[in-house]
């Protein structure tokens, strides 16, 4: 089954490009024929000359980034984008969610739906759609939200996963918190699952783990693509009976997003290191999983600087809320192991009832996928997709900052210009306060 990716805005088109580059490199790397062909079918289709063409639709309101991504892909010589898979306009959305959602989105609805429909028709069977976008700017967030809404209408029964890049806490777009609030509140009603990468976290991974000196956006996007690829590449699941799963999005969503109030998924991967060091490093599953488990419960997104003091709460000392304990309570976790000796890995630590909310059995809350094929040159690698309180704090910060700005009425005239009123903002704020409150109640 195949996944159609919709790349939206500058960030979406850059991350999307890196994602295809990562999965293509990974699939063509190994000698494993089945793995490669499943991966290939999932992300690529052959064109008349037999070259792999990404199952992707590229959308932006300006041309520069799309052209760059298309050119870079063609230059790689390994894969390319479809000749008629992109749509761009001349003038961007100007960081204004309202401009993207109320003006650009509706104006180009038919063209975009047509592109996606055509790409879907290329699939023998559609596993679902992944919309890749940022929440900060105007096109990714505003047009992205509108397009997600269209996809929901056109494909009411397909799985839709949104991959969101959350901006740096400081300094990308000043109205980023407004745009984020509007995006998240709307997507919460539309999407089956919202997979989030925070730029700040990824930036730290680049500097601390990958030891990159002058971190560029392509470095950031490559890490995101690596993590996303390790989630979406073929794996053996409980339902797939010894074969590679045919339904990656469906199984991901049913494993993790079991309740409509909880859709925010975070990702962490171990190990991550400079390519030059990989050859000199050895890993053991118990070591990797011990670290990953502690990363989960202490909510650290990388294996450096883990707080080993955090322990699951015992029955006798109840801890509640953000302030009491640093323990990160999960609703559901999906662990994906790739590489050598994967069948011998012991994952019992993740089935501990203390990790989860009381109203879900740990056997239901925990899912395990495996693949004996090493991913992206790592001999052994583990990725955890978690529906937990991990994103509670950044979400709360985002809403708090937006709310403070909203109280001063700053920038609202820019949104009103395109038809988003204070009332609309209030509805979005209410929705996200509800989400925050739900995640808080997990512990």
């Amino acid at each position: 089954m195949s996944v159609v990716t919709v790349q939206l805005g500058q960030c979406g088109n850059q991350v999307g490009h890196e994602l295809f580059d990562a999965v293509c490199g990974d699939a063509q790397d190994g000698q494993r024929k089945t793995y490669s062909s499943v991966s290939c079918e999932r992300f690529f289709r052959p064109n008349t000359r037999g070259d792999p063409v990404a199952r992707a639709v590229l959308i932006d309101m300006e041309t520069k980034v799309i052209n760059q991504s298309i050119t870079k892909a063609a230059k790689s010589g390994r894969w390319r984008y479809g000749d008629k898979s992109s749509f761009s306009q001349k003038q961007g959305s100007g960081n204004n969610w309202a401009n993207g959602y109320c003006v650009h989105g509706p104006r180009h609805r038919e063209v975009v739906e047509d592109l996606v429909r055509r790409e879907v028709e290329h699939c023998d069977r559609l596993a679902g759609l992944v919309a890749v976008m940022s929440v900060a700017g105007g096109t990714g967030s505003g047009v992205g939200t509108y397009v997600t809404q269209c996809l929901r209408d056109v494909f009411p029964k397909s799985f839709i996963l949104n991959h969101l890049t959350w901006p740096y806490g400081t300094g990308e777009v000043i109205v980023q918190n407004y745009n984020s609030v509007l995006t998240l509140a709307h997507l919460y009603q539309l999407s089956d699952g919202i997979l989030v990468h925070e730029n700040d976290t990824v930036h730290r991974i680049c500097s601390h783990l990958l030891k990159i000196k002058n971190i560029s956006f392509s470095d950031i996007n490559r890490v995101i693509a690596h993590q996303l690829g390790s989630v979406l590449q073929p794996a053996l699941t409980a339902d797939s009976h010894g074969l590679y799963s045919r339904n990656p999005l469906g199984e991901l969503v049913s494993a993790l997003a079991c309740h409509p109030e909880y859709k925010l998924l975070s990702v962490s991967t171990i190990p991550q290191m400079p390519t030059s060091s990989i050859a000199y490093s050895t890993f053991s599953w118990p070591g990797l999983l011990k670290h990953l488990r502690q990363m989960l419960i202490s909510n650290s997104k990388m294996e450096e600087g883990i707080d080993w003091q955090v322990r699951p709460p015992t029955g006798s000392e109840p801890t509640r809320g953000l302030t009491g304990s640093n323990f990160n309570t999960s609703l559901a976790n999906l662990l994906i192991l790739r590489g050598k000796d994967v069948y011998s890995a012991e994952t019992g630590g993740f089935v501990d009832p203390a990790l989860y909310t009381s109203w879900l059995l740990p056997e239901e809350a925990f899912t395990l996928w495996k693949s004996p094929v090493p991913f992206n040159r790592y001999e052994k690698a583990a990725t955890l997709v978690s529906n937990s309180q991990a994103l509670l704090r950044p979400l709360d910060d985002m809403v708090r900052k937006a709310w403070n700005m909203f109280a001063s009425r700053a920038y609202l005239h820019q949104y009103a210009k395109f038809g988003i009123s204070e009332e609309d903002f209030l509805v979005s704020f209410t929705c996200l306060e509800q989400v925050i409150s739900s995640y808080r109640e997990l512990s």
Partner: protein, 474 residues
């Protein structure tokens, strides 16, 4: 790719504009080695095949035939425009883009705004429309004018409101040259205050530039290049006052100063013209930097002012570039942003600079810069990969900062001093359409603008607690 149109009004506007076109050509010639009319060039230039009788513009992708500026030149005297037409830049303008009169506005805002504004209204609109029609996707008008005189100030602001009427969707970014305190035009306080009201009401963004600051920067660079130590000589074409490599050979007195303003315009549009890892489009400027519609005065600063011929310790120099952008003597108006309050700030970087450099410097500088309580992280950043000619990197900072207040207060003081004595008032009041209320309303507009900045200033240093959030009942 979008296009922009430059509208230059009055003597100062046309002189600055002239420098802008020269340096824009220099920059594109530097980047575009193949002689192909590319997207970047199309943003400010048309490519016309003069051999074809129709004179129709050629599409992007062909060879450069004959570049024509997307500009409208307006002056009520002939001197400056004629000089341009006889100079090396004559090729880039058509007579249809020009509008001149012979008698000037006599340093009288009312003559420019009312008399000429009404007489030439249709002609101006006609020329604007023609220029706009030649654009594939018009994004922005750049108006260049001065505040002190009659034509730039009066007719310039009239053109501004015409732009709003005719092209409400197109962004209006105004570069306004403010008079120095020792200005030789007696009526410049009147003209400036009358123009201010128009700017406050009709512009999307105003980039104020003060003559005195330009002079100071120019002197600083000249001083450095004369007394520099051996090995630290300033590169000839790298100083932002230099026109080296442009078409114009003979330097005129104001050229050095005007080059600074021309560089400001080149840098503000660089990300819209060239590629970069973090694009910053022109419509993002107002969106990010203007929290309240009237408070749209953005103080510009350019760094580095020059590069030295020995380049060592690049990181330190890169960080210095960021520090300088916030220092008093790099601002293009007489203002001290560090000791006032930031509402928002944009950093537009060009050249080989990575996002990590940007982050490091924001983190480093943030503690020393006061931001308004609800916009503590009010940074907008852009990374354009093409550096300016002669530089490896450069930075343009745009600050929406209460430090513009002293300039406005000074203007108000000088206005009031004249107005109390009714000095020169009759010159204005006998102009058709000009009434006393124009003065009182302009003064009231300026007063309330100052108050708005003042009210924000008062919140400085006060820790405002988070606003109580919505609560969810279960």
């Amino acid at each position: 790719m979008t296009q922009s149109v430059v509208v230059q009004v009055g003597q100062c506007g046309n002189q600055v504009g002239c420098r802008f076109w020269d340096l824009a050509l220099r920059e594109h010639a530097h980047v575009n080695k193949k002689g192909i009319y590319d997207e970047a060039l199309s943003s400010f230039f048309r490519n016309v095949d003069s051999r074809k009788s129709s004179g129709r513009a050629c599409d992007v992708g062909g060879r450069i035939q004959h570049l024509k500026a997307r500009a409208v030149l307006v002056d009520m005297e002939e001197g400056v425009v004629n000089e341009i037409l006889q100079g090396p830049l004559r090729e880039v303008f058509d007579s249809t883009q020009l509008l001149t009169d012979v008698s000037g506005s006599g340093n009288n805002w009312a003559v420019g705004h009312m008399t000429y504004g009404s007489a030439y209204r249709d002609q101006i609109v006609d020329k604007l429309r023609k220029t706009a029609e030649q654009c594939d996707c018009l994004q922005c008008f750049f108006l260049i004018h001065s505040m002190g005189g009659g034509t730039g100030s009066g007719l310039g602001t009239r053109v501004l409101s015409l732009l709003e009427e005719e092209f409400p969707e197109v962004c209006r970014i105004v570069t306004s040259v403010y008079p120095s305190v020792e200005d030789d035009v007696v009526t410049s306080p009147y003209n400036s205050v009358l123009a201010m009201r128009e700017l406050t009401e009709h512009a999307d963004c105003v980039l104020p530039v003060e003559n005195q600051s330009l002079v100071d920067i120019m002197n600083k660079i000249r001083h450095m290049s004369h007394c520099g130590k051996a090995g630290s000589m300033i590169n000839r074409d790298s100083a932002i006052i230099s026109g080296q490599g442009g078409l114009n050979r003979a330097e005129k007195p104001f050229d050095a100063m005007n080059n600074i303003v021309a560089n400001l315009l080149l840098n503000i549009t660089s990300s819209a013209r060239f590629e970069g890892s973090l694009n910053m489009d022109l419509n993002e400027i107002a969106m990010n930097l203007v929290p309240f519609p009237r408070l749209h005065y953005l103080v510009p600063s350019l760094t580095p002012l020059y590069t030295l011929s020995d380049f060592s310790i690049p990181t330190r120099r890169l960080d210095q570039m960021f520090s300088d952008a916030f220092s008093k003597d790099h601002q293009l108006i007489q203002a001290d942003p560090k000791h006032s309050l930031y509402l928002a700030c944009a950093l537009m970087v060009r050249g080989h600079v990575q996002v990590s450099d940007l982050r490091r410097n924001i983190e480093r500088l943030k503690p020393s810069l006061p931001f308004v309580s609800w916009n503590q992280e009010g940074w907008k950043t852009g990374l354009c990969s093409v550096p300016p000619v002669g530089h490896s990197h450069s930075l343009l900072a745009l600050a929406n900062n209460t430090c513009v207040k002293p300039t406005f207060m000074e203007l108000k003081k000088r206005f009031t001093r004249l107005y109390r004595k009714k000095a020169h008032l009759h010159h204005y009041l006998h102009v058709d359409g000009m009434e006393k209320s124009c003065f009182t309303e302009a003064l009231a507009s300026l007063t309330s603008l100052i108050e708005e900045y003042h009210d924000l200033d008062c919140t400085k240093g006060k820790l405002s607690p988070d606003v109580p959030r919505l609560t969810i009942t279960r």
